[in-house]
């Protein structure tokens, strides 16, 4: 693979939290323009990988290198990473009292564009007339909040979007809708790193990787990785001893 074809390269990424090794040498290459799925059981280190990639506090790697579009971002702040084109749709997005959906979606855009905001809401099957003036607060259901999170990422037009379990929770987008959204993102040049424990998501992937106990254990053809996940991980008798993933606080 040529360097210009690679949008993200993770080399030997290690993270220890509370004296526990959560990421134990992750190596992963994500091709530009692809939809790359990272599959793994609960507690395998998926979300930790997402927070570490984004640069969240408490997720500073103990070792390893992160290269985004040829730039070493390992020591960069969240803001610097975001300005280079990396963003994250949280599995359980934060809520903001008094912040309207319209404003929230505009925050990540290079220039405010209400047409783009409307387009982003439509892309997650929300009616702009209903949602633009609502607040990104407790009045939204968990599913509505997740859709708005995805809309915000879409509106931002990042180089690489990390989507952490975008389909989980009641009232969340269906897999078909997520596939349609990812297709639209790809058309606009966004590479997607999709993190999930559901093997169905590989249907929308160009590439897939399997994460287990903080390591990428397989990467390649989505169908093959899915098969490994279904036949090796799900029945794995070691899953009980897999350390619990550190919840994002």
């Amino acid at each position: 693979m040529e360097n210009q074809d690679i949008v993200l390269q993770i080399k030997d990424l290690q993270l220890v939290r509370d004296e526990r090794a959560i990421l134990r040498g992750v190596n992963l290459t994500v091709r530009r323009g692809s939809v790359h799925v990272v599959l793994g059981l609960n507690g395998s280190g998926k979300s930790t990988l997402a927070y570490t990639l984004m640069g969240c506090s408490g997720y500073t790697p103990d070792a390893g290198t992160l290269i985004l579009d040829g730039v070493d971002i390992t020591k960069m702040s969240i803001t610097e990473r975001a300005r280079l084109g990396l963003t994250l749709a949280w599995q359980e997005p934060a809520r903001f009292e008094g912040l309207s959906v319209a404003r929230y979606l505009s925050l990540g855009m290079k220039a405010p564009d209400m047409a783009r905001v409307r387009q982003a809401l439509e892309a997650v099957a929300l009616d702009p007339a209903t949602y633009l003036s609502r607040y990104v607060d407790e009045s939204l259901s968990g599913g509505e909040r997740k859709r708005i999170e995805l809309a915000a990422v879409y509106a931002m037009q990042p180089k690489l979007a990390i989507l952490d379990e975008p389909d989980s929770g009641i009232d969340a987008l269906s897999l078909d809708d997520i596939a349609a959204l990812i297709h639209r993102m790809a058309e606009e040049g966004t590479t997607v790193l999709l993190i999930s424990h559901r093997d169905e998501v590989v249907a929308m992937a160009d590439a897939a990787s399997l994460i287990c106990e903080g390591r990428i254990v397989d990467s390649g053809d989505p169908a093959w990785v899915c098969d490994r996940y279904t036949h090796c991980c799900e029945p794995c008798d070691r899953r009980e001893i897999v350390e619990e993933e550190v919840a994002y606080a």
Binding site: I78, A82, T87, L88, P93, R95, F96, G98, A249
Partner: protein
């Protein structure tokens, strides 16, 4: 003796014209739309210092304004059953750098009436200004009163604001008030509202303020749920930074069967600021229930990092969160 009201279109002497224009400009800076104060279709009252610059009544509104040495006494009555297409606009201000303005307000909302007030208090040049508001408010049976007050104090911190109100909400009445002081320096503010709520009545008090420099914010919100099924919410949203200080005392009493009340206080602290919250809940009837929540601290990490992941720097992200919380 009550002053003669100043009709909107009456010729004003040159000094009054100048004051009127100055207060309109200040009103605009505090977020008001001066056109509302000029419209004959919108009820309004404009007071600069102790001078009534404008008073526009509409059918259903009875209003008197009496000049005091250091302020104005207002008596305002809303006729029973009255409804209005637009809010009543109030503008209080002191344009010079120094002065005292004492507003003694007596509002009586007739049974079944529905009325909304939009008040703007503006002290754009204040170096040493004291604004005292002593309100006596009666919301009649089945009536609804909404009162929103926004302040603009300039940037020197030379204002002392003492809004104080005693409110009575009769059976089935509803009273909503929102006080917002988040533009310019606070100076010193001591907000003190006490509301007595009758059977099936409702009271919601919200105080929002942003303090910096050496601003001092004291909020006392007291709701006494005295009638059956009375409901109340005492809510405050305060943000302080630098060396500012905030003290919030939210009190709700459940004194009658099936009364329901809640105290909800959030304070965000940055720098060397100090925040103190004292939610007080008191129940004297075993069928009443009152709850409270208070959170003081820095901006939440997850909220902050979510906005930073959109490309905002930390300071801007904090500002967006705080401004959102304060309803701007």
């Amino acid at each position: 003796m009550p002053d003669q009201p100043v009709p909107r279109h009456s010729p004003r002497p040159p000094q009054a014209r100048s004051d009127f224009e100055a207060i309109l400009r200040a009103y605009e800076r505090s977020g008001g739309n001066p056109e509302f104060l000029k419209s004959s279709k919108i009820a309004s009252l404009i007071i600069s210092g102790n001078t009534v610059l404008g008073l526009n009544r509409l059918p259903g509104i009875s209003a008197e304004a009496e000049t005091l040495p250091d302020g104005v006494r207002i008596r305002l009555q809303i006729a029973p059953g009255a409804r209005f297409e637009n809010p009543i606009h109030l503008c209080f201000g002191v344009v010079p750098a120094e002065g005292v303005q004492r507003i003694l307000a007596d509002f009586d909302i007739g049974a079944g009436a529905e009325v909304e007030f939009m008040a703007h208090c503006t002290f754009p040049n204040a170096m040493q200004v004291q604004h005292i508001m002593e309100g006596k408010i009666h919301v009649g049976p089945g009536a609804t009163m909404r009162y929103k007050e926004t302040h603009y104090h300039g940037e020197t911190g030379g204002v002392e604001v003492l809004p104080k109100a005693q409110v009575t909400v009769d059976e089935g009445g509803k009273y909503f008030t929102e006080f917002n002081l988040s533009q310019g320096r606070v100076g010193r503010m001591e907000f003190d509202y006490v509301v007595d709520v009758g059977a099936r009545g409702l009271a919601e008090l919200t105080a929002k303020a942003l303090g910096y420099g050496d601003d001092e914010i004291i909020v006392r919100e007291t709701i006494r749920l005295n009638g059956e099924y009375a409901r109340g919410l005492a809510k405050s949203r305060i943000a302080v930074r630098d060396h500012a200080r905030s003290d919030v005392y939210g009190t709700t009493e459940g004194n009658a069967p099936f009364a329901r009340g809640h105290v909800d206080c959030i304070e965000i602290v940055r720098g060397h600021a100090v925040a103190n919250a004292v939610p007080i809940v008191k129940v004297t009837d075993d069928r009443a229930m009152v709850t409270h929540e208070a959170a003081i601290g820095a901006v939440g990490k997850k909220e902050l990092e979510t906005l930073m992941a959109r490309g905002l720097d930390e300071e801007t992200a904090v500002d967006v969160i705080v401004r959102g919380m304060l309803g701007e």
